[in-house]
């Protein structure tokens, strides 16, 4: 039963990550991305997926898709119908799946975050419906594949599993909410393993939307810079295979890291603007810390939401300063959105993988585009590739509608 859960746990099990897959504009897979984030490479370029000639801003973190998809149980006809978002999802999932060593049998729940599913297909549908209203060719397929649940079911088909699918659409916090929800399912004893993550592809509508809000940077995305003037949009996906420590140990899995905390809170200040003091951000970080039984002094690095918009970064800087107290003065913070842009529903998941990379490699990912840190930042913003001793990393994700989520990862000692 989904409810009430037939399982009871006397003490919550530890939850570990045994597989991680990622694709961003920095590249496909762990190695390219780890190297890119470690060095603070910037992978933004002119958008070629749709017409941006009339937009204020014309660059984004567009992914160069590999020439072929990873092998899976999908048939060639199924593969031909996949849209860009599903391909991103499938590529990230294949890497995580392979790394985890999971087998394609049995029940496996999936929790994914997305903001727009297969929006590109929806756009193609709409354009054809208007320009050629009597032409129905390809339209049924677009309707079907546009929907996020179809994309999730394609993953189930690709790797041969079945189980509940939960799709969280909490705007830009979706990826972190998805991972956090998956963590909770394991901690409460509902399951022993969960596939989780987030994905979103660039689409014309969303690009135009952020541009209409004048939220996109017409110069360069510089989170926490005193002269910052907006965000960059990007696309990608990240998938994690989560399982209880006991389950991972039982099958002799290689453990990449541990997920130790999750919190969320809602900011009711405004649909698109955070409360200037970042009250919900503080609540979200506090909730994550409480679930992890940690204090700010324990955190060694924060991967900030850090979009690069004046309002977000000011509110988040306030929130981190208030939350960390004296610890803020020495707590390294960076936003990796300077490298790949804001990945919306994928952001929280990709940034969780970046934290995992940093914990494993013992380095801090820099915000390399920053020139003059905003004086509102009472914490050091990581600007250059830096080696560091890291035990715990916290990742923030904040979204439209006031959706705030924070997750905490821990280094795994072999």
């Amino acid at each position: 039963m989904l409810f009430p859960s037939p399982h009871r746990v006397s003490s919550p099990p530890r939850v570990v990550i045994t597989g991680a897959g990622v694709i961003t504009s920095l590249g496909t897979g762990w190695n390219d991305n780890a190297e890119g984030f470690r060095l603070g490479r910037v992978a933004l370029k002119p958008v070629s997926l749709f017409d941006v000639s009339r937009q204020r801003v014309k660059v984004g973190g567009e992914v160069t898709l590999p020439s072929s998809l990873p092998s899976s149980e999908l048939g060639s006809r199924q593969e031909q119908r996949l849209d860009r978002a599903t391909k991103l999802l499938l590529i990230a999932a294949a890497e995580a799946w392979k790394q985890s060593g999971w087998q394609s049998t049995g029940h496996l729940p999936m929790v994914l975050g997305t903001t727009s599913g297969g929006m590109g297909l929806g756009e193609a549908y709409y354009q054809q419906a208007l320009k050629a209203p009597q032409d129905h060719r390809r339209q049924p397929s677009r309707v079907h594949h546009y929907q996020a649940q179809t994309q999730a079911l394609i993953l189930a088909d690709a790797f041969g599993f079945t189980g509940s699918v939960t799709l969280i659409a909490n705007a830009c916090a979706s990826g972190s909410n998805a991972i956090g929800h998956a963590w909770e399912l394991l901690r409460k004893g509902h399951y022993e393993r969960v596939l989780t993550g987030g994905y979103d592809a660039l689409s014309q509508m969303v690009f135009a939307g952020f541009d209409s809000l004048q939220a996109l940077s017409p110069t360069q995305c510089r989170p926490f810079d005193a002269q910052r003037d907006g965000l960059a949009l990007g696309e990608g996906a990240a998938i994690l295979t989560l399982e209880t420590l006991r389950h991972a140990e039982r099958r002799g899995a290689t453990i990449l890291g541990e997920l130790v905390g999750y919190g969320s809170a809602l900011d009711t200040h405004h649909l698109t603007q955070p409360h200037p003091e970042g009250a919900a951000a503080v609540a979200s970080m506090n909730a994550a810390m409480q679930s992890a039984e940690l204090w700010p002094k324990d955190i060694d690095y924060i991967n900030a939401h850090g979009t690069g918009t004046p309002l977000n970064d000011a509110a988040e800087a306030n929130a981190i300063s208030r939350w960390a107290g004296n610890r803020a003065a020495t707590l390294p913070v960076s936003s990796t959105k300077s490298s790949i842009g804001h990945l919306l529903g994928a952001a929280g998941a990709v940034e969780a993988v970046i934290c995992l990379m940093a914990l494993r490699g013992q380095w801090l990912p820099p915000t390399s585009t920053i020139q003059t840190p905003d004086p509102a930042c009472s914490f050091p913003v990581v600007r250059y590739p830096t080696a560091a001793k890291l035990e715990y990393a916290l990742s923030n994700s904040f979204g439209f509608g006031g959706a705030n989520a924070s997750i905490i990862l821990r280094r795994w000692h072999e």
């Binding site: 989904l2 937009q55 698109t272 439209f400 959706a403």
Partner: protein, 345 residues
Amino acid sequence: MSNIYVNGCGAVSPAGWGIAPLRAVMANATPLPSKPLARPGWERPLTVRQVPPPEPRPAFLAHARLRRTSPITQYVVSAALEALGGDAPAVKNGTLTLGIVLCAMSGCVNYSRRFYDEALRDPATASPLIFPETVFNAPSSHLATLLGTPAMNYTIIGDPGTYLQGLALGAQWLVEGRVDGCLVVGAEECDWLTSDAFHHFSRQLVLSDGAGAIYLKRDTGTPNPIELKCVTEPCLFTKGQRRSRAVKQVRAKLPPSAANHLLSDSFQNIPRFDAAEANAWQDWTGGRLSAKTILGEGLMAAAAWQCVLAIDALKQERYAAASVSVVGCNQQAIGAHFVNSAFKS
């Protein structure tokens, strides 16, 4: 015993604003008439069953956050306030921690279509006022703001079976003590674009819109409350599991047929779509309610109406228990079971 109870329900449907008109049209057992909806480029309109304009205009629309909202948010808020009843002040003053789970399939399609249309014409003049209202979680954010609750708030998407997943999620939050009450709302809004999309799969299908809300608590303080007994694991429609098998699996997880039990199913009088559910439930001997045959295919809202109507029938003590069977469009089959505590002994 799950110890999770229904503390209130609310609905907005083509029958009108509130549960009373919904109950009335179901009692009448006659499908609501459909109305034409212009489809650009076609001489012949599409047909839909839409929510009628509210009369009088709801007072909540005066709230600053709700002035520009599209119909889906208005439906969500109205259904939620009806379900919440007298608990709204306790939420506002912080003595009751309220969680919100909003479930949608098409979501904020009116403004999404409008905004994209503007962006195609000229992105330089596309309205920044409309875009934020296109995100899936805009309605739940507006509702939380109106009620003044910063607590757990998830928007989950998928086919209509997702509404029952939402019920399970809300119930779980209550069990874990993370919230004192939880609103689970399913909602959709009509648009020619959605109707056009479904037209490719069936000419008989008539889309409808509205919302349904269930307010769950650990105790209700009222005699003979309705208990959410269980929500089954969803059974997916995958390459390896056909729709008919998935529905049968759900059927097997719910209690057996009984004369004083109600089945609220997702039939819509389209044999091709109903076949799997008809086959799985052919031996049912209890009462039966098929909301979509009267109200149309309201997607997530329809799944919520199925639950609201089942609970309403239990409240009137017409049945001892009710099973809800939701066979979704393209994702899953799932079921839920409610019991009337008065019949327990």
